[in-house]
């Protein structure tokens, strides 16, 4: 049996709140979800102009990945191909699909079209954090912690990854929701990476 996989850190964005490892770090209930994403970007003093060009799904996921990874120094600890990212969501890229569909009537927008695939979020995070390992995106009705933990644990067991960003990022109908955690081995004081613990964190707020 290989080394125990654990959850070393997590981040949750839901109902205009951001929670890091159980601590609420940012909240603004009065804003629309798009304004909330912008406010969080400003609040945490993120400097990445490409953010403004992203669609809502990418902004949601990017922001959560950014806050999750900003102090992790992943690139010092691991080779790019040893880091994986696996996420799922319910509405794929539908928010942008609809906007792009509307643009076809006049001039189909290339910059909207490139965001009409949910896995482009993975691309954005990989570009930002120099991640070149396993990159997968699944579509489910609801977050499936059993699937997610089985999939990740098998990545660790077969030595595909040494660390992996895992979670859920969804944006539809003006509702942003994202949940990312970092799974690693050799972290003895962290929660064990199993569906029970992951679900508990996901239900958080």
């Amino acid at each position: 049996m290989s080394k125990q996989v654990s959850i070393s850190s997590y981040l949750l964005l839901r109902n205009n709140q951001i929670v890091v490892d159980g601590q609420k770090v940012f909240e603004n209930k009065d804003l629309s979800s798009t304004d909330f994403l912008q406010a969080a970007y400003d609040h945490f003093q993120i400097n990445y102009p490409k953010f403004f060009k992203m669609d809502n799904l990418c902004k949601t996921g990017f922001l959560v990945a950014e806050l999750l990874l900003r102090n992790q120094k992943l690139n010092e600890k691991f080779q790019p191909e040893e880091i994986g990212i696996v996420f799922s969501n319910a509405n794929s890229s539908l928010d942008t699909d609809i906007k792009y569909e509307a643009s076809i009537a006049t001039a189909p927008s290339p910059s909207l079209f490139v965001y009409t695939l949910p896995n482009v979020l993975i691309g954005e995070i990989c570009i930002r954090h120099r991640i070149k390992g396993e990159a997968a995106c699944f579509v489910f009705d609801i977050f499936d912690a059993i699937f997610q933990t089985d999939y990740l644990n098998s990545l660790f067991e077969t030595e595909k990854v040494k660390t992996c960003i895992s979670g859920w990022a969804d944006y539809y109908n003006g509702k942003a929701e994202a949940f990312f955690y970092l799974a690693e081995t050799g972290k003895e004081n962290s929660d064990i990476h199993n569906s029970l613990n992951v679900n508990k964190i996901f239900q958080g707020i």
């Binding site: 699909d97 079209f113 570009i127 997968a136």
Partner: protein
């Protein structure tokens, strides 16, 4: 632990089943032509590789209601052919999965509804009530196949089907499932046609991958599936599997949302990873079925990465001049072609190739090669979002 391929099924612009596809491949019969099925203002100007059957005709063939999405019809026809081809005794007694990839889901339905929605926004309820996402297509077909142990949809753009096969193989190796029907499907839609056109990467003539004067890709549609089985299931089969899934890998290029890095870093890592898993050396690979879309960017990045890994480059060709680029389906369709290549000792040509690319030292195969010994085939699929996948099929001993 070996993962065997017990059956295969395909539908594309060059045929409605494996036999028809094989015949067209051998007869150098392209499926790229004027658009006649999809209603679009580009019918006269942008060629594509459509399955030349109406939704009603497809629905009748697969037994789904004709109001369902076109992607589901294509998926159903190819997946059922694959399951029938595998002919597994007591199919129901095994733990079985259906892992199907697609990128457009029910976009054709959304396009229809959207018109009504603009007139009356109460129509929006249709989108809410009838889930037209990618997973809906998978579930429709899983129900038809009677598969319910594990069903999922993978969406990683043009590498989706390879990732579906890799995930299926992983589930078998981890002893979670015994049989997995894996592959992908995608139908043509205005959405994708306009999108690729807005990126200015569509050729207004039939595409010419790996040609110095290539002008872009042609879109296509179709579906392709393989039936992956464990050693235990393989032992029960009357028809012994010809092929195994020997290796696969997925890596991110981490360069740009839609463009490949100039040196093909992700492509390189995917091919290298697949080779490592298979335990094969570059000399063992007899044929590479290229991603070869015909865009300036893809063919250059892929070509440079191949040159770097292989040095002495084996026989290569892109079959997209036959089928167009079928996006989420392409790796499923090309898996079937790779297996046909192994089973029949045939390498299919890269149609319409004329001029060597100045950046590369090698050229693709331009004629049908028969009576070849083809033991190991690599198939590449690289998608938007930097998602790069390679898979290796090997002759079963």
């Amino acid at each position: 632990m070996k993962v065997f391929i017990a059956g295969k099924g395909v539908i594309s612009a060059i045929g409605n089943n494996v036999a028809e596809n094989f015949a067209s491949l051998r007869n150098l019969q392209t499926g790229v032509s004027k658009i006649t099925v999809l209603p679009t203002r580009y019918a006269e100007t942008l060629p594509a590789a459509e399955v030349k059957l109406s939704n009603e005709e497809l629905a009748q063939r697969c037994g789904l209601n004709s109001s369902e999405p076109r992607t589901a019809f294509l998926s159903s026809i190819a997946a059922k052919e694959a399951v029938a081809d595998a002919n597994i005794p007591d199919f129901k007694k095994w733990r079985t999965g259906f892992i199907s990839a697609n990128t457009v889901g029910a976009m054709d339905k959304t396009e229809t509804i959207y018109k009504y929605y603009l007139e009356d926004d109460n129509t929006d309820k249709l989108i809410e009530e009838d889930p037209y996402d990618e997973g809906y297509v998978t579930e429709l077909v899983a129900n038809q196949l009677g598969i319910n142990d594990h069903i999922t949809t993978i969406s990683t753009a043009c590498s989706s089907s390879t990732n579906a096969m890799a995930y299926g193989a992983r589930l078998i190796k981890a002893n979670q499932l015994d049989i997995v029907v894996a592959g992908g499907c995608d139908a043509m839609s205005k959405f994708t046609l306009n999108g690729f056109n807005s990126l200015m990467i569509l050729d207004t003539n039939p595409c010419t991958p790996y040609d110095e004067n290539r002008k872009g890709l042609n879109l296509g549609e179709g579906a392709g599936y393989v039936v992956l089985v464990s050693e235990e299931v393989a032992a029960t089969l009357a028809k012994k599997p010809t092929t195994i899934l020997a290796g696969y890998a997925n890596a991110n290029d981490a360069f740009h949302q839609t463009a490949s890095s100039p040196e093909g870093k992700g492509n390189f890592m995917a091919m290298q990873g697949a080779l490592e898993m298979s335990g094969l050396s570059t000399k063992d690979i007899d044929y590479i079925n290229l991603h070869g879309t015909g865009t300036s960017n893809n063919d250059l990045s892929e070509g440079i990465a191949i040159q770097r890994i292989f040095g002495d480059v084996p026989k290569v060709s892109s079959t997209k001049p036959y089928t167009g680029h079928t996006l989420g389906a392409c790796a499923g369709i090309e898996a079937v072609y790779s297996i046909l290549s192994i089973e029949n000792g045939i390498i299919f040509p890269n149609l319409r190739f004329q001029t060597k690319m100045k950046e590369l030292d090698f050229v693709p195969v331009t004629e049908l090669l028969e009576n070849m010994e083809v033991k190991h085939v690599m198939s590449n699929s690289f998608g938007f979002g930097g998602n790069c996948s390679s898979v290796i099929f090997s002759k079963a001993n």
